[in-house]
Homo-oligomer: 473 residues x 2
């Protein structure tokens, strides 16, 4: 082993301790031409690292499960925790450019995906990740030689895929798309390192030393995330104080009659979206005791239990807290044709996390845009995204809290925290107004459910869900 | 809605609160003939339940990911947390009997799987789960009628699968296997409820009322788990005190030479097991500061990083603590052709959990057998299971602790807990002797790595791994 190799391998192993101490998560994306030597370079540079604290992902084969999720899903769920490394051998670039080159997706779809990738990578950086991207370059002639060499030996022949051969045959066409892709995703947050892969030892040395230098730079001068201005069309929404609650009620008879009719209708629609493979995401936010649980129950009980899931969102686990705040929601996205209902959501970022100081001011101010981008990706994928704000007034909340406190079977539903949150009603109201104003995009607007009368709110929720699904069929 | 239906639906919804308070996890397995109405019965009885605290799984389609894991994996990873319900629409019976009936597996493989299922269900019950199993019976004639009715309507036609038609055509053959399966898996821990599915309303009523009755019984009289006697051949192992550590050392030169040679050999073998799709599980246990981390590093750095994972096992998260103690290991099993290395393992149950009182005496006494059954399933699946005990003496540990304490870069490796554990050395030694004696099965024996000289232990580990893989090729 050359002395140089020994040095950078040791230094990289030492950086594991550095990123652990700094709580810095590092993502290395290794892209490049087939047969450029990505895998072996990766295998070499990590030799001295502690294998308990990094992961290597070969992103070649997309599983069935993954195919039924948004295209960024399989990447997002693999993001490392604070202080750890994830290495991607081939990543989203390889996948998306190949789809485009083989006409699996249109130019328009391709452009949208590239746009999503730019957003996604920026979000990673802004949320504390260091993203180091490499592209290994090989000339047409050189690639041909390498493939032929692999084919020559019984031990390596099986590693040459049809895709590799296709790529070499279509080298010029691929090069044009690769160049364009790299240009468009070469951002200041996540710039590319393009390396000529002529000499194996040199490639490894450049990769290792670049990672080392980027870590040192990131530690020395932490990234300052900018607040992006919102690029999406917004729907104008009223402030909470302007929402009329009086008179929005139903008699028990009206309620029962409508409930039965609407549940039947939703049940039939569920069947249709299942067969058409349309995913649906229903997000519930609202005041404590606003009636989210009962509302969700009336929606869920109209659905085929094999085709939906309800996720109650509590405070994040350590695994969740130490990653991008959207990670735990990526992990809970429905499959195509399925419905996911969230009882509290990613909007916790701009409500409880903001008000309790669980994230920085920069974090929650950035989050409006990050959430809009996330929801844009979901709707681009084909999902119907429905967001409910369940609204009650302060007196109604007090009534319900008091009832819970005084009814033994309901006492588990009320905690000291609920009372503490109630004291901050005005601060929350301000935050909620801002949230609704900034995230009511055209593709994923908020719907307010007036819930002083829970029956009214349930019927309205069912009507909206039915409406939104019908629009899509 | 009939009054009776309203009553059992409400009662079932109330039981959600009961199992939550009692911390009782409930698994309902609904099996039966095709077109017996499993799905609709399930959909009906859960109507009043709170959808945030139960899950329904349709187990029909086995995904690619799941196919590359042991057959119980896809069931095990879906076990509910304490206080929650999981409903399985079709479960392991349907899968295994169909494989046998269509000659996908031999009689011998089928018998082994049925045996595993009996173990698995008993383990669930013994670990605090309530398992309620139903089989919906339909006569040949009746099934035919039901299928024809489904085929008659455009809206339901698509729900009839080839398998359904096949089953009706082979009704008698299927019935024989079903009867036999039910007989063999009708245990006192998890008995079957066989229901004639003639009348839809009656079926729903029986299912709901049975679940209610079983919950009430389980709450009234908690299950007493028996300690099973070990049925497996054991390999005779020496006590720790009899293991010679002196003289088991290598010079730096011998070590470097052997290391290079063995890593090269292992690297080539990794390629072979990848192509032959053989999974490998390597489990490391040992005293604090015995050198597990460095040992694992020497193994891992010989492997292709895309084909292995290292799992450091710390104390369980709440999600893990509130399930069967093996759940978090089911979740970390390798895919076929991959290697999983565990830095600490499921043996925590009979060491730290036993000595710190994190589980009951009955729990850890049962665990030897539960672990043997788990490892038997892994080897039946085709895995190579290698278990290392990394052994040092008490003086060597003190030396290493002191070195860590006095070396700034190593201080993070030593905690107060390490010192506290050291005080319990004798208690641990007794527990480890018992563990090694009781779980050194012929299919998954323990290997002791003498590690007063870490170099010696690393070379021995590599040699054993190479040996065990070679035996299988």
């Amino acid at each position: 082993m050359s002395q140089e190799k020994e040095i950078y391998r040791s230094e990289l192993a030492e950086r594991q301790q550095v990123i652990k101490n700094e709580g810095l998560p590092v993502i290395v994306m290794l892209e490049g031409w087939s047969a450029a030597g990505k895998g072996s370079a990766l295998g070499s540079i990590i030799k001295f690292m502690d294998p308990r604290f990094f992961r290597v992902y070969n992103m070649d084969a997309v599983t069935e499960e993954e195919m039924r999720r948004p295209f960024l899903y399989r990447h997002a769920v693999k993001m490392p925790m604070k202080g750890q490394f994830s290495f991607f051998d081939g990543s989203v670039m390889d996948e998306v450019t190949y789809q485009y080159l083989t006409d699996e997706i249109s130019k328009e779809e391709y452009d949208a995906k590239v746009e999503s990738i730019v957003h996604y990578e920026r979000q990673l950086r802004d949320n504390g990740y260091l993203v180091v991207k490499f592209f290994l370059d090989v000339s047409e002639k050189d690639q041909k030689k390498r493939i032929e060499k692999l084919l020559d030996s019984k031990n390596t022949k099986w590693r040459v895929t049809k895709k590799d051969l296709w790529q070499n045959k279509n080298y010029k066409k691929c090069k044009k798309v690769f160049d364009d892709y790299i240009k468009r995703t070469d951002t200041k947050e996540c710039p590319w390192h393009r390396i000529k892969a002529d000499d194996k030892d040199q490639v490894e040395s450049i990769i290792a030393n670049t990672i080392i230098a980027e870590i040192d730079a990131a530690v020395k001068k932490p990234h300052k995330a900018e607040i992006q201005s919102n690029p999406y069309e917004l729907v104008k929404m009223p402030k909470l104080s302007k929402i009329k609650l009086e008179g929005k009620e139903l008699t028990r008879e009206e309620y029962q009659k409508k409930l039965k009719k609407l549940q039947k209708e939703l049940s039939a629609l569920h069947n249709k979206i299942y067969r058409k493979k349309i995913p649906v995401i229903i997000a519930y936010e609202g005041w404590d005791a606003a009636g989210k649980g009962g509302n969700i129950k009336r929606v869920a009980s109209a659905l085929d239990p094999r085709g939906y899931e309800v996720f109650p969102i509590a405070s994040p686990t350590p695994e969740e807290k130490n990653r991008h705040f959207l990670w735990r929601f990526y992990n809970r996205l429905p499959k195509t044709g399925h419905i996911a209902i969230f009882d509290r959501t990613w909007y916790g970022r701009v409500m409880v996390e903001r008000l309790e100081g669980f994230c920085s001011e920069n974090d929650w101010k950035r989050a409006y845009n990050e959430i809009n981008e996330f929801e844009k990706d979901l709707t681009d994928w084909g999902a119907i995204v429905i967001k409910f704000w369940v609204q009650i007034d302060k007196d109604t909340q007090l009534e319900r809290f008091t009832l819970r406190q005084n009814t033994p079977e309901k006492q588990w539903k009320i905690t000291d925290e609920d009372w503490r949150n109630r004291e901050k009603w005005d601060l929350y109201e301000k935050a909620i107004d801002e949230m609704i104003a900034k995230t009511s995009t055209e593709f994923a607007p908020w719907f307010v459910l007036e819930s002083n009368d829970k029956k009214y709110a349930r019927i309205k929720a069912l009507e909206i869900i039915i409406d939104e699904i019908k629009k899509r069929l």
